[in-house]
């Protein structure tokens, strides 16, 4: 029996009644193919209806179920329980305010995302009658990787700078801004590079590379951040040579 039971030690916090987070243990009978999320859903359905956690797609694409598992950021619907021993410690993602139990406050990220202008910026909008832009497979490949971010927030949780400087735009937002900068259809590089140089600057990044290591979608936000630093500097330097708008 020992091999198919695990003890989940789950961080609980209800601001209605708790002064501080506490730990609660649950004995969970687990199936060999279960992910960490399956264990949490078992607790919610069978043991304790008051546990709060987010999840939906259970196929690693909606980005809802990021948590700390045994101290490391994990997308719990993708993370096999067989990775862990008899004890599985589940806590909310680090570096975020906690709303309740395993639910973090995402509002800060939503603001940062908007700040990097993650949309196509063009001087003159193309009419739908003109058809699609031509974009070669190579041009697509240039930014494709950075468009894969599912906003799961694991990278913010792993990033040492986000922990110390809450204003830092952070890996996912920078990667998404960079994704548009690299898109052949876009003309918004100056605007975004200004954001990258401003408050929450890309230069705060300390090259720890933790973000890319935890990314469940292999986006490599560290590469995006470092390319953005270079581009932001070049853009700044060129602004003295070529007047703004002179392209």
């Amino acid at each position: 029996m020992a091999e198919n039971r695990k003890t989940f030690v789950v961080t609980r916090f209800d601001p209605d009644r708790d002064e501080a987070p506490r730990k609660q243990s649950y004995e969970v009978p687990v199936q060999p193919d279960w992910k960490v999320l399956d264990g949490l859903n078992y607790i919610k359905d069978e043991l304790d209806g008051s546990l709060s956690h987010r999840w939906s797609c259970r196929m690693a694409v909606c980005g809802s179920c990021g948590m700390m598992v045994n101290g490391k950021p994990s997308l719990t619907c993708k993370d096999p329980l067989s990775n862990y021993g008899d004890k599985v410690d589940v806590a909310p993602l680090a570096n975020f305010p906690v709303v309740r139990d395993l639910v973090i406050d995402l509002d800060g990220f939503m603001e940062k995302l908007q700040k990097v202008k993650p949309w196509i910026i063009v001087a003159k909008e193309k009419a739908v009658e003109e058809g699609t832009y031509r974009q070669s497979p190579e041009e697509l490949e240039y930014f494709r990787q950075f468009s894969m971010c599912i906003n799961c927030m694991l990278c913010y949780s792993a990033c040492p700078v986000v922990g110390n400087e809450p204003e830092f735009l952070g890996p996912a937002a920078i990667a998404l801004g960079h994704r548009y900068n690299m898109d052949s259809r876009d003309e918004g590089q100056h605007e975004r590079n200004e954001v990258f140089r401003g408050e929450g600057t890309v230069f705060a990044c300390s090259y720890a590379n933790e973000c890319s290591e935890v990314c469940p979608k292999h986006v490599d936000p560290a590469a995006a951040v470092n390319q953005s630093k270079i581009n932001a500097v070049i853009d700044w330097a060129t602004s003295f040579v070529v007047p703004r708008g002179g392209k």
Binding site: D14, P15, D16, R17, D33, K44, D45, E46, D48, G49, S50, L51, S52, H53, R54, W55, S56, C57, R58, M59, A60, V61, C62, G63, S64, V99, R100, D101, V103, L106, M110, L113, Q114, P118, W119, I120, E125, K126, V128, G131, T132, Y133, R134, Q135, S136, P137, E139, L140, F143, R144, S147, M148, C149, I150, N151, L176, Y180, D183, R185, D186
Partner: protein, 571 residues
């Protein structure tokens, strides 16, 4: 009671909801739009769609062909005026999405690439590898962030439509994080909450697909239409139900039984030379028949058949189907480059939904619906793969524009009645949150709901089991009033939201089962062993199902026919 006013209130932040929001702000110089969603928009289930979005793009294709394929796929229950409009608008909508940054896969010359899909007579499915829903949703959401007039209410659960003077005036919405109910008023309301796959035990749908918008409209007196038509996708992973896209077959994958035989080629399942690219209803039935004939493969989660991609090669799989490889490895323990993927039919999509006209308007003035929550009658009795993502755009945009037009011609209405209704909602939820005395367990009721839906309304149906399901659902609704909730917290209480969701699911399930039990013919996805043929003489109409305190009440609505006359559906 906090009362908030906007011009348009959109419930749902997935493909249809966001498209409607963008259309609304573009159609009006000053309209303010509330987008109310029970999740952050990028978590919406559109994200899980994989294979593609259909629109005519190639010189060997035509609107006529897309239209006919869709009508035939619908088993002639689709409305032909709706289908005509859809195929005309589809290329424009996908082009717009391209302008907004969607990373569509490309041909060498830089034009957008298209792939083959089931029931489509040529390559007209636009794709971004096999993460099309994900890219569409994020492109739409990120594009929407540029509009200040789209005001988001994230993680807010709408529990009731506020109706006064014969028109919808807004919604009562539970702020999940804070536990308070607010009245969010608008001159028009658009439902865009998606489907209801979670009423079934085995589904591709995410946990959030609980039929909320259908239940909201239904309780407000708007009929649900064609609810008996439930799409089983042929290829889901056993156990989890995770979707393996039809694009696997579009790119050349084969379905094989335990004997290694390509049964869609060797046996007559009505799909002709289309083989694996036949429509979903027919292929799902073929798989069930193979398993029933003893040619399935036995596994821990029941019997299944094989989806074989090994002959496509690693390079093609990694380029065009990378997510399928990832999903198969993580959730089935097989690498499709080297081994076949175990699959079985899985509940995927509701053809039925809130009855709307071609504008997305419902019978309740001011209320619109678009996307899977709606039944605009594009899909009839069986939807073709890759039509639904495009549907979200075409009819989301139209509902957005029409809602703006309606709103401009209507007054904002008084506040008193809406405020009072929202206050009643607030009191109802507060007492539900403290209902710790009940004897029924939420997860147990949900399991019983799932079980009875599968046994009565599966791929193959018959009268006795459907009637049994109808009776069981009525009992489950009774028992739901005795549910015990343990969580009395006001903060992010996911037990109360789960109870609200189960309430919604029971309502939708009952409408579905009652609609199914009445239709004594086989058409599209509604397949009866005791009435195996289509009966145009008696059943060429849309089923309407009305809420009634005494139990669902049925009605009917004419199908809009046109140049395509119903004929035997053979490929």
């Amino acid at each position: 009671m906090e009362v908030i006013r906007h011009d348009i209130v959109i419930v749902g932040g997935g493909g249809a909801g966001i498209r409607a929001a963008i259309a609304a702000v573009e159609a009006s110089p000053d309209a303010s739009v509330a987008m109310v969603s029970k999740v952050y928009p990028m978590r919406s289930h559109t994200v899980s769609a994989e294979g593609g979005a259909a629109a005519v793009a190639r010189s060997d294709d035509s609107l006529e062909m897309h239209g006919y394929d869709t009508v035939k796929g619908s088993d002639f229950l689709g409305d032909q005026d709706v289908i005509q409009y859809f195929v005309e608008q589809a290329p424009k909508e996908l082009t717009l999405l391209e302008h907004w940054g969607c990373p569509w896969s490309r041909n060498e010359d830089g034009t957008v690439a298209t792939r083959a899909f089931g029931g489509m007579s040529t390559k007209r499915t636009w794709y971004a590898a096999d993460k099309v829903g994900f890219h569409m949703l994020h492109s739409l959401f990120q594009h929407s962030l540029r509009f200040d007039r789209i005001v988001r209410y994230d993680e807010q659960f709408v529990t009731k439509l506020l109706v006064d003077g014969g028109a919808v005036r807004g919604v009562a919405s539970l702020d999940v994080r804070e536990g308070v109910v607010r009245a969010i008023l608008g001159r028009a309301v658009i439902l865009a909450t998606g489907g209801a796959g979670k009423i079934f035990p085995f589904t591709t749908n995410g946990n959030i697909k609980t039929g909320d918008g259908m239940a909201l409209a239904y309780r407000a007196g708007v009929p649900l239409k064609d609810m008996e038509f439930v799409q089983y996708h042929p290829t889901g992973l056993p156990g989890t139900g995770i979707l393996i896209t039809e694009a696997t077959r579009g790119e050349g994958g084969h379905l094989k039984n335990a004997e290694g035989e390509r049964f869609l080629v060797t046996r007559d399942y009505g799909v002709g030379t289309k083989a694996e690219l036949g429509p979903r209803d027919m292929i799902s039935r073929a798989i069930v028949q193979e398993i029933e004939a003893g040619r399935g493969v036995k596994g821990p989660y029941g019997e299944y058949v094989h989806l074989d991609l090994t002959h496509l090669g690693e390079a093609a799989i990694d380029k065009k189907l990378p997510m399928v490889r990832e999903l198969a490895k993580i959730y089935a323990g097989v690498d499709p480059v080297y081994e076949p993927i175990p699959i079985r039919p899985v509940v995927h999509y509701m053809m039925g939904g809130v009855d709307t006209d071609i504008d997305g308007a419902t019978s309740l003035p001011g209320l619109y619906a678009a996307g899977e929550v709606a039944c605009v009658s594009l899909n009839g009795a069986n939807r073709l793969g890759s039509n639904s993502l495009t549907e979200c755009l075409v009819f989301g945009a139209r509902a957005g524009r029409e809602a703006v037009r309606y709103a401009a011609g209507t007054d904002a209405g008084g506040e008193a009645a809406s405020r009072q209704q929202a206050e009643e909602e607030s009191a109802r939820l507060a007492s539900a949150r403290d209902a710790r005395s009940g004897s029924e367990k939420l997860s147990q009721l949900r399991r019983e709901l799932n079980r009875t839906m599968e046994s009565g309304c599966g791929v193959y149906r018959e009268q006795a089991s459907m009637d049994e399901t109808v009776r069981t659902l009525a009992q489950l609704k009774q028992r739901m009033s005795e549910v015990r909730l343990e969580d009395s917290s006001t903060v992010f209480n996911t037990e109360i939201t789960a109870a609200l969701e189960l309430d919604n699911m029971l309502e939708v399930a009952e409408a579905l089962a009652v609609s199914a039990a009445h239709r004594r013919e086989s058409r599209g996805a509604h397949t009866r062993r005791d009435a195996p043929t289509r009966d145009d003489h008696n059943y060429l109409y849309h089923t309407l199902c009305y809420y009634d305190a005494a139990g669902p009440r049925l009605g009917r609505k004419d199908v809009t026919l046109g140049k395509w006359v119903p004929e035997e559906r053979k490929y």
